[in-house]
C-alpha cells in the first residue's frame, strides 16, 4: 500500500499542483512537501507529494548500474571469446 511513484511537478497553485509521468497527469497536494516547486521530481503517494526525488543521487546509482552492466558485458565477451 506504500506504493509511490516519481513524478515531475509541472504547476503549483498554493498546495494544489499537477504532476506528470509518462504522459499521465495527476492533481496532487504538496502540503506535506512545502518546499516543492514546479520542475522538481517528487514521490507521489495517495495524491500527496511525500518526498523529493534527488536527481543527483538517482544519477549516481544509475551510473553504478551502467558500470556494473558494462563490466559484466566485458566479462561475458571474454568468457565467450
Amino acid at each position: 500500500m506504500c506504493v509511490a511513484v516519481p513524478m515531475k511537478l509541472t504547476s503549483l497553485d498554493g498546495h494544489n499542483g499537477v504532476a506528470e509521468t509518462g504522459g499521465v497527469k495527476l492533481s496532487i497536494n504538496t502540503m506535506l512537501l512545502p518546499d516543492a516547486k514546479p520542475g522538481d521530481y517528487v514521490i507521489v503517494h495517495a495524491g500527496f507529494a511525500i518526498q523529493h526525488l534527488d536527481v543527483e543521487e538517482a544519477e549516481r546509482t544509475l551510473e553504478l548500474i551502467r558500470e556494473l552492466a558494462e563490466h559484466e558485458g566485458d566479462k561475458e565477451d571474454t568468457e565467450s571469446g
Binding site: 506504500c2 509511490a4 497536494n29 502540503m31 526525488l53 549516481r60 546509482t61 556494473l68 552492466a69 559484466e72
Partner: protein
Amino acid sequence: MKYMREFREAGATKALAKSLAGAAERLEVVRLMEVCGTHTMSIARFGLRSFFPENVMLTSGPGCPVCVSPHAYIDTAVAYCRRPDTIVTTFGDMVRVPGSSSSLESEQAAGADVRVVLSTIDALRIAEENPEKEVVFLAIGFETTAPTIAAAVLEARDSGLPNFAALCGHKVMPPAMAALASDPEIRIDGYICPPHVSAIIGGDAYRFLADEYGTPCVIAGFEPFDVLQGVLWLLEMIADSKPEVRIQYSRVVSREGNQAALAILYEVFEAKDDEWRGIGPIPGSGLSFRKEFFDFDAERRWPVEVEPTCVPEGCICGEVLKGIASPRDCALFGTACTPESPVGACMVSSEGACAAAFKYEGANR
C-alpha cells in the same frame, strides 16, 4: 516513466548476483526480512529469490497495512457500512478483506454506500458533495500514508467540514520491527526496511535496531537492482559483525526524513499501544487522534456496536506475517484460500505474501 525503468538493467543485476554469491560464502544460514509489502510483490514479480545464494533466506514481514489490520477493525468498518445515512470511503485494498462475518464488498452488495478513493482528498470532496450524509474514511496505513490523512483532517478542520471523520487504524513500523527482532522464535539477521515509510521517518529512525538489537538495516528501493544491492549490503554487514543503517534508496530517503510531514502527522495523531493481526499487541505501534481532533475520530463521534470477533480456523496469516511460516505452509493455501475467495488477509491484498506467492509462483503447495 523516468527514474523507474532505468533501474532494471539486466547486466547489473547479474553482476550483483555474483557478488551476492561471494558474500554469502563467508556466512552460515542468514535470515533476512523484507518488511514492506511492495518489496514482497517486487521480489516475487521479478523472481529475485532465484538470485539469492542457498544460505540466504528472505522472508516477508508485517508490512502490508491491510494484512496487519485486526479483524475487529474490519468488523467496525462493517458496522459503519450498516449505519444509516453513512458513506464509507476507503482505499481499494480494504474492500475484500474478510472480517468476522462480512466484508465491505458484501456490505456494498447488500446496499451499503461504500466508495473507493485514491486519496483522502477525494473523501473530503465526497463529504462536501453529500452534506446530508456522514462520511467515514477508513484510515489505515503506515507512516507513508498517515500524514496524508492528517493533512486531510487539517483541511477538514480549516474549512469547517462538519460531516467527515476517520476510523483510525494507522500503525507505525519501527516498534513492530523491534518486536520481531527481540522474538527468539523469529530471529531476523537483517532488515530490508520499508522505503516509503523511510521517506517520511528517515534512516535514523532505525538506528536503535542496529545499536540495541544488533540488527543491520538497509533501506533499499523497489527495483531489482535496489533489492539485490540492499541484500548484498546486509550480507556484508552481517559477515563483518558491523550492524548499521545504510540507505541504498538515497534518491528518495535521507537520514532525517520528511520533517514537515512528521510535524503534520504528530499534530493530529499520537502514539498508542496497538494490536497487529497475528502478532498481537505491540507497545507504541499504533496511532490515535490527539484530543484536539476528537471530532474527527469516527469511533468517538459516531459510536457503533461491533460484532464479537471470530477468527477463521486453519488460517496462519499470523505466522506468515511474523515470517515464521511461508504461504505454502498453510493448509488452506491455493485450496480453500485463493485470491478469488480469500480466507486470510494475506491472500486479499495484492501486497500480501500469500497473494504474491499465488500470483507469481503458482497455486501448487
